[in-house]
């Protein structure tokens, strides 16, 4: 066992209102520069939808992440390092401008400076790439709130993977939001892809960074990252990516996207993990086992053996204490409501998500049952407006059981707390039905609902 610390994030999608404040505050702080116009270290996707860049989840096309070969070894999907070296001057698996979008501005000057003329002045769009007039036909968030669904929704790679048919009908409409940053993976494909050794994972907190001095702009990291969260600065010719706001983390401040999240859905914290077991965990054969494999790499910070090993491996005392208080550990390991994004990419991502629970009661009530009754509530989780199969394709490589279990716990919390709220009654049977105690449910409720600043970060 070799203990390392990882700064990690959990986002509770059940609370995400899709406002994009995180995207804007991040953009303003970090990527509001030339060469970076199209870059969103943090973006928010409406699902179902094609995401940003368009269709990034289609690894058949983009070749990001790792694959497990017949001998049980992990190999970069886009080819070995040698293969990469061989085509270092022409990397075909890069998203193009059409896949991101052509950034633009407007000739705002006309509003102030238009001479006397026949018509009211207007600022028309101009490409930031060519400087020419353009018709805007794609953006960083084109299909927000199911916009243009008839045209593009079926291109969502997740929908195409699902066995269940999802049609664009008014009565069956559903959506939820997926905010994304760099996953700061335990097994980062971008780092492994870099021919220059310019990408690294910091030893003390696991943040994955691009050394701006060492980057030679080969862009293999862009191809290697299955989440497409490394970007190419076309002004400096270097790769840039989400830094998990290390200049803030280092002085004890949460990331910009976390602190400015008005949905209050982001949790930040340290987890301890066994670095020696990462490769093994990332290489388990059955994709459905990846979730548990990754959980097994994460160490219990209260375990005396782990504490001892951590001390031995040079983890400072206050870091161990932080890991013990971490909301991340509770959400991933104790309440087990948080799940990783696309574990099947085998990068061991460390930004996890609580799946969205909505709406359940609708379905239950529609069937003539009491929508507030805990028993019927559970029965209905497989009838969610958001198909559980969709969530499973995002978070569990298609295995619906962990998603179902997480949603049941959220539903149980609502049901249990309604009793407390309205009648001051604590029905432990509800908690037991999801393998928790009432006290645990109340603790989880405090973390998810009351969610004080100090508890979130």
């Amino acid at each position: 066992m070799k203990v390392m610390a990882q700064m990690s994030m959990v986002m509770n999608l059940d609370k995400c209102i899709g406002c994009h404040t995180c995207s804007v505050t991040c953009k303003q702080a970090w990527t509001n520069r030339t060469g970076m116009e199209y870059v969103w270290f943090n973006n928010v996707e409406t699902r179902p939808g094609v995401g940003y860049p368009r269709g990034y989840q289609d690894q058949e096309k983009w070749g990001g992440g790792w694959v497990r070969d017949k001998r049980g070894r992990l190999r970069l999907r886009s080819g070995s390092r040698l293969a990469k070296l061989a085509r270092i001057f022409s990397n075909p698996k890069l998203p193009g401008m059409d896949d991101y979008y052509e950034p633009w501005t407007y000739d705002y000057d006309m509003l102030v400076n238009a001479p006397s003329g026949q018509h009211t002045p207007v600022a028309r769009p101009k490409s930031l790439i060519t400087g020419k007039d353009m018709k805007i036909s794609w953006s960083a968030n084109w299909d927000d709130d199911l916009g243009g669904s008839v045209e593009t929704m079926q291109q969502d790679p997740i929908l195409r993977k699902m066995s269940e048919e999802v049609s664009a009908e008014f009565e069956k409409a559903f959506m939820f939001y997926l905010p994304r940053i760099c996953e700061h993976c335990l097994n980062p494909a971008c780092v492994a892809s870099c021919p220059s050794g310019a990408m690294y994972k910091r030893a003390e907190d696991g943040i994955v960074l691009v050394d701006q001095d060492a980057c030679r702009g080969w862009r293999m990291c862009v191809s290697g990252c299955p989440y497409k969260k490394v970007y190419f600065n076309h002004k400096t010719g270097k790769a840039e990516k989400c830094t998990l706001c290390y200049p803030r983390i280092e002085v004890g401040l949460p990331t910009v996207c976390s602190e400015t999240c008005v949905g209050r859905l982001r949790y930040l914290g340290l987890v301890l993990y066994d670095v020696d077991r990462v490769a093994e965990a990332a290489a388990v054969e059955d994709e459905h086992d990846l979730l548990d494999a990754q959980r097994s790499v994460i160490l219990d910070p209260h375990d005396p053996a782990v504490i001892e090993a951590a001390r031995r491996d040079g983890i400072p005392e206050d870091w161990i204490a932080s890991a013990q208080q971490s909301p991340i550990h509770r959400l991933i390991q104790e309440y087990r409501v948080a799940l990783p994004l696309h574990p099947e990419y085998r990068t061991m991502p460390m930004v996890w998500y609580i799946p969205p629970l909505s709406p359940v009661v609708d379905v239950v009530s529609g069937s003539g049952n009491d929508g507030e009754d805990a028993r019927t509530l559970f029965a209905a989780i497989d009838k969610l407006r958001i198909p559980i199969g969709y969530l499973a394709e995002l978070f569990t490589a298609g295995d619906v059981r962990p998603v179902d279990a997480a949603l049941r716990r959220l539903a149980a919390m609502r049901s249990y707390m309604r009793g407390v709220n309205l009648d001051d009654e604590r029905d432990d049977r509800i908690a037991e039905a999801v393998g928790m105690t009432g006290a645990e449910i109340e603790e989880m409720y405090r973390l998810l609902a009351i969610a004080k600043y100090e508890e979130r970060y």
């Binding site: 000057d109 009211t120 916009g147 490769a279």
Partner: protein, 1238 residues
């Protein structure tokens, strides 16, 4: 790093060759390699990290916020480096609201987070601008007339010259000039207008003072000292819920968002909280974890539907039918089949339900008439003071009782201590049935939900239902109770009553039932029943913690007052109003200037003269933009079939004229003559000015200006706009603004009303004026349609460049604006701009104006004895008596040469007369003494020794000192006064903070919680969450209504005429029937006819941020219209195709956003899409493609014009016609995809 540890190589990466290379590499370079060869551990090599540390570094962080458009009032950290604003992020330091609730941090949204883009953006107005055509004229005139006022007069009084620059408005040609020149022209225009036409021909528009009180107040104060007119915004925006004054006698008072947390059941009805209340939405998502059930009601699949346990999707505008059916279920199941004690008790004590209404004979049947009052009872009772404003109920034995707390008790000295809700042991029956056997009678009630009879389309789809109520005879009149009328109205039958009743919930033949609503809304009856039951059961179980969060989706309709009354009936009949976690929660454009008394004193310049000229924005624009000429809506088309024909031959414009003449609503310009001259004439004639006006009106030598808005004498001449974008956002009937108010090109497609449908009480001039306005001045920091059409554009400081105050009703804090940088380039704060304008004005006034007397016609005012001008709401033709049957006529002295001195000093009236808010007068002697030391005093001049108000910070201190919410001494003082009125203990609500006083420094350090004050109806006492009417329910303080209780029933003649005495369903206006418009849902050739709705946008707040590059990059980069795949398919439109949308009022060009989120037959163009960004020329009009309001126009509803009667009395932004725009229909077509921009 532990290089010693080695295990057997098992899992690995890549192939053997790579592995061996890496394996080899470990011997060639420093660092440790992991056993599996997966990782290399290196020391150092992190110099490159400095790049991002450098990027993060900054010199300072300043607290500020955003000052208009939005009611979020979020506190922000503004980062500054090297004197440049770099970015902003939300503050997280709000005072805690307790261990068991989520906190307010971090408040904010993506729009606010993108604000700093404006600071250095290419759309920033950096210098003063003037249109070249006007500049040439003025500079030439100045050469001829050295005096600026003479020079200005030589231009505007020359029709040729005037037309020449007005025609150029909005067509570019703005040129840079100097502050000196623009201030000179603006001041000259003001002086000329005051002298020639009257000060009330100058109008100012600036909304939402709560979000920047000083910026708003500085301009308002200037205008009020001039005698100019400030236009209301809340009603104009259609954000004012007229039902609130009707039911509560209060403008709008709602829970803070943290109180959503306390609700057990939450219906979001036409309010898309994640988009429109972004910083607050988390309280909803989090409350679900507490077991709150969440229901959304919305015609489309909205953002908040994602969180809902149930989604109810009625047809747009039919919400009242759903709410009526829910009320039907609740009344039946909780008041008839079973009797829920808590609900009944609440209705008895806090509503008009038990009050007696006399039934009147009309056309051979009975209809509900007037409240029975003390004046109807025995002579001794009838002799009480204001007995005609003391409604009556029965005690448990059936004897009439005059309970405390009615309007009649409010102002009479002999009733001091009796204005309270104490029923003194009386337990009034809700229904006369409760008194045992009795008579019953059939009453006739209107309905408006029918299809018109063939051949009777002009009469509309109205009809009559006959239902029975128990009656008895009291004081010689046949009476019943409001509650009995409610059961009749809602179709809840009881054994043995006559009339036509539904046979059950599934009976769709008669109004009120769940099956009936399904016909109108498409909402399945079982769903309506279920939600009604759950809502009421939750309220019963939780003690009133069921809440309806309502917003623009239901409040922007012509008949929104009726929609909202059906909602409020639900929260009231279940005892939820005044309860934490319960009641109505109206969130659209609502705002709360927490320190309202201090703000009002400053902004109204009430320390120098009273009353101010405040008027109803909708009517002002209706007249000024000549929309009235295209309207011709016959008022009797809106009438009840049971009406008396009161509106026969009247248009709704005639109703406005009548309202103004009667003093119900204000209107400026008031008379067709300069109000300064009226005083001089009176003096010459040796009469009091008021008498002179009455005599002149009587002999026909003087007229109200409203009767002839197209007479040049009655034009508004100068308009000042700041913190606003009327022409690119709020201006309903945008194209009419351009054509008639401004006199430039417009896309109006309608024809004017024909001779048969013109207002009978207004003068029709064959030639409609174009270009009424001589000067339009706008101060802004960015270019909007309003600046583009202005004659003069003043460069304004942004919100990060000034001192100011912010508060809201969404949270209980006051916090500060502070300058992160000084105003850059030649920009100035609004405060400094108006100071300079006042200085210039005063200088010119010395020679041109001097000291004058001004006759102000003030309407009958709410919260004063004026509200008793119309006993029983009987509208009669009586002789002119100012303050009773017509406006009050008040002379105000205007010391024009000293106007600037007054503007920047505190006047004497605050101390001499006190400061009155909602009927409570505050006396700030102690505060004035302290302010003299804090702010300092004026050193010399006519007002030496007065408190200095010559900086924005000093004004902030004044506002904070002069309100109970920020100064505990005044809160306690106000409550003591209220204790005298009510005889109830109240002062303890504020005594815990009697010594507390917030300073500007305090609210700059951290947002600070307000103090409970009688300025508002809720309580923060003991750290509780604010909810409206807590003081009424818990401490028996009356509502400011006729009965002192919440009203289901409104007995004014006009309400009766409109058939809206009780909550009722009125469908959206049938624009086809009324104006010959297209029928939504139909198709013709390559065009589709659809409902046109303009909900609030995710990527802008009104027009602000819609031009912001970040917001545009995250959306579709310009105006779009959302439509259903079905509608798009009908006209061959694909996503992102260019389309045109047109109707009578104008044309809009946009791109289609085709989504299955949208229901067929309805399109959305999100509010407010200005024409400034990516709007090509229209194929249809040949002009720039318009804004969302190019397709709308103003329609007046007579019920909004009532005044002078109890809670139906005017106050600023409290009552007035709404600028509603939801009933419009439009035609959409695919256009040529080759668009042209110029």
């Amino acid at each position: 790093m532990t290089p010693g540890i080695r295990t057997d190589v098992t899992p690995s990466t890549d192939g053997a060759l790579a592995e061996s290379l890496v394996g080899l590499g470990r011997y060639l370079r420093p660092g440790a390699v992991s056993a599996d060869l997966r990782s290399v551990f290196l020391q150092g090599g992190r110099a490159g990290d400095a790049f991002y540390r450098d990027r993060w570094s900054h010199d300072k962080v300043v607290r500020s916020t955003h000052g208009v458009n939005c009611t979020g009032s979020c506190s922000w950290k503004v980062y500054v480096k090297d004197g440049i604003i770099t970015w902003e992020a939300q503050q997280t330091d709000y005072p805690s609201i307790g261990p068991d609730s989520p906190e307010y941090e971090p408040r904010g949204c993506p729009r606010g987070a993108a604000f700093s883009w404006y600071t250095y953006s290419p759309t920033r107005v950096r210098y003063p601008y003037i249109r070249d055509a006007l500049a040439r004229l003025y500079r030439a005139a100045k050469a001829e007339h050295p005096d600026p006022v003479d020079a200005w007069a030589s231009i505007v009084e020359d029709p040729e010259k005037a037309r020449s620059y007005k025609r150029q408005r909005g067509k570019g040609g703005l040129i840079r000039t100097t502050w000196d020149e623009v201030l000179e022209i603006a001041a000259a225009a003001h002086v000329h207008t005051v002298k020639e036409y009257g000060p009330d021909r100058i109008a100012g528009f600036s909304p939402i003072p709560a979000m920047s009180m000083v910026s708003h107040g500085a301009g308002s104060r200037f205008l009020n000292l001039v005698g100019g007119t400030m236009l209301s915004f809340y009603d104009w925006y259609a954000d004012l819920p007229v039902a609130s004054p009707q039911v509560f006698g209060d403008q709008t008072d709602v829970p803070e968002s943290a109180d959503w947390w306390n609700a057990g059941y939450l219906i979001m009805w036409g309010s898309n909280v994640p988009v429109t209340r972004t910083p607050d939405a988390h309280f909803m998502t989090e409350a679900r974890y507490r077991g709150q059930k969440v229901v959304t009601v919305s015609p489309d699949y909205t953002d908040n539907t994602k969180f809902a346990d149930e989604w109810v999707a009625p047809h747009p505008g039919t919400d009242a039918a759903l709410a009526l059916a829910m009320g039907h279920v609740i009344l039946r199941e909780h008041f008839v089949q079973k009797r829920t004690a808590r609900f009944e008790d609440y209705l008895r004590r806090f509503t008009d339900a038990p009050y007696l209404v006399a039934l009147e004979e009309r056309d051979g049947g009975l209809v509900p008439g007037k409240f029975l009052t003390a004046s109807d009872l025995d002579p001794e009772t009838a002799a009480q003071a204001r007995a005609d404003f003391k409604p009556v109920l029965l005690d448990a034995e059936g004897s009439p009782v005059v309970p405390n707390g009615s309007l009649g008790h409010r102002f009479a000295a002999e009733d001091e201590g009796r204005w309270n809700l104490d029923l003194e042991g009386v337990e009034p029956p809700l229904s006369l049935r409760d008194l045992g056997s009795g008579d019953s009678a059939e009453v006739r009630l209107p309905r408006f939900d029918l299809d018109p009879e063939p051949g009777q389309e002009h009469a509309g789809g109205s009809g009559v239902v006959v239902r029975g109520v128990p009656v008895r005879t009291v004081a010689g009149k046949t009476v019943t109770t409001v509650f009995d009328l409610m059961l009749a109205q809602y179709g809840v039958g009881r054994e043995g009553l006559p009339g036509v009743w539904p046979t059950g919930y599934d009976d769709e033949s008669t109004p009120g039932t769940p099956a009936w609503q399904e016909m109108h809304t498409s909402v399945p009856a079982p769903q309506a029943i279920r939600i009604a039951r759950e809502f009421a059961d939750n309220a019963d179980r939780s003690g009133g913690r069921s809440m309806i969060l309502m917003g623009a989706g239901t409040n922007h309709w012509f008949h929104s007052d009726t929609i909202y009354r059906t909602f409020l009936a639900l929260t009231t009949m279940t005892g939820c109003q005044g309860v934490n976690g319960g009641g109505w929660a109206h969130y659209v454009g609502q705002e709360k200037v927490r320190p309202i008394t201090g703000y009002q004193q400053y902004a109204a310049a009430a320390d120098w003269g009273r009353p101010p000229r405040h008027t109803i924005g909708t009517a002002f624009f209706y007249l000024a933009t000549d929309q009235w000429r295209y309207d011709g809506l016959p008022a009797d088309q809106l009438s009840s079939p049971l009406g008396t024909g009161r509106f026969a031959d009247q248009t709704t414009a005639d109703c406005l004229v009548e309202s103004v003449q009667r003093g119900w609503m204000p209107s400026y310009p008031t008379f067709d003559r300069n109000p300064l001259d009226l005083c001089d004439e009176a003096e010459a004639a040796g009469k009091e000015p008021a008498q002179h006006v009455v005599d002149s009106l009587d002999d026909g030598s003087l007229h109200f200006a409203v009767e002839d808005p197209d007479d040049p004498a009655n034009f508004p001449r100068v308009m000042l706009i700041w913190r606003a974008n009327v022409l690119g956002s709020s201006g309903k009937g945008n194209e009419y603004f351009l054509k008639h108010l401004l006199g430039t090109d417009a896309s109006v497609r309608a024809s004017q009303a024909g001779p048969g449908s013109r207002p009978r009480s207004m003068t029709w001039r064959d030639q409609a004026p174009e270009g009424k306005l001589d000067l339009l001045v706008t101060a802004d920091f960015r270019m909007t349609s309003t600046t583009l059409f202005s004659d003069i554009v003043l460069p304004a400081a942004t919100w990060y460049e000034k001192h100011d105050l912010s508060s809201t009703d969404m949270h209980p804090f006051i916090h500060a604006f502070n300058p992160a940088i000084a105003p850059p380039w030649q920009t100035k704060t609004d405060f400094d701009t108006f100071g300079l304008l006042a200085e210039q004005f005063s200088r010119m006034a010395r020679t041109h104006l001097g000291v004058r007397r001004d006759l102000v016609a003030a309407p009958l005012q709410h919260d004063t004895p004026d509200a008793m001008a119309t006993p029983h709401g009987r509208v009669q033709d009586l002789p002119r008596t100012p303050g009773v049957t017509m406006p009050k006529l008040v002379v105000v002295e205007r010391d024009y040469p000293n106007l600037h001195e007054r503007w920047k000093a505190l006047g004497p009236l605050a101390e001499r007369l006190g400061m009155t808010t909602k009927g409570i007068t505050y006396h700030p002697e102690v505060e004035i003494a302290r302010l003299k030391r804090e702010n300092g005093v004026v050193a010399s001049g006519p007002y030496a020794g007065s408190v200095r108000l010559d900086s924005d910070r000093r004004v902030c201190e004044l506002i904070l000192a002069f309100s109970g919410t920020s100064n505990g001494r005044l809160a306690v003082q106000g409550f003591r006064q209220l204790e005298k009125h009510t005889g109830q203990e109240l002062a303890f609500l504020a005594e815990e903070h009697e010594g507390a006083h917030l300073s500007f420094q305090d609210v700059s350090v951290q947002p600070r919680s307000v103090i409970t004050s009688p300025e508002w109806s809720g309580s923060e006492h003991g750290g509780r969450r604010y909810t409206a009417f807590a003081i009424n329910v818990e401490h028996l303080k009356p509502w400011h209504t006729l009965t002192g209780r919440q009203h289901f029933y409104l007995d004014h003649d006009w309400m009766d005429e409109l058939g809206e005495a009780l909550p009722i369903y009125r469908p959206p206006l049938d624009m086809h029937r009324l104006f010959g418009d297209v029928v939504p849902g139909t198709t013709s050739a390559a065009e589709v006819h659809v409902r046109y709705l303009t909900p609030h946008s995710k990527w802008s707040i009104h027009s602000e941020y819609q031009d912001n590059l970040f917001m545009l990059s995250l959306s579709r980069g310009g105006p779009t219209i959302w439509m259903s795949p079905q509608d798009a398919a009908k006209i061959g439109v694909r996503d992102n195709d260019w389309i045109e949308s047109y109707n009578r009022n104008g044309v809009v060009v946009a791109r289609a956003n085709v989504s299955h989120r949208m229901p067929e037959g309805t399109v959305y163009m999100y509010h407010a899409k200005d024409r400034t960004v990516d709007v090509p020329l229209s194929e249809i009009s040949g002009q720039r493609g318009g804004i969302h309001n190019s397709l709308t126009r103003i329609l007046l509803k007579p019920s909004h014009l009532i005044g002078g009667y109890a809670q139906l009395s005017w106050a600023f932004n409290y009552l007035g016609p709404t600028g509603n725009q939801r009933d419009e229909v439009t035609t959409i077509r695919r256009r040529n995809q080759e668009v042209q921009y110029r």
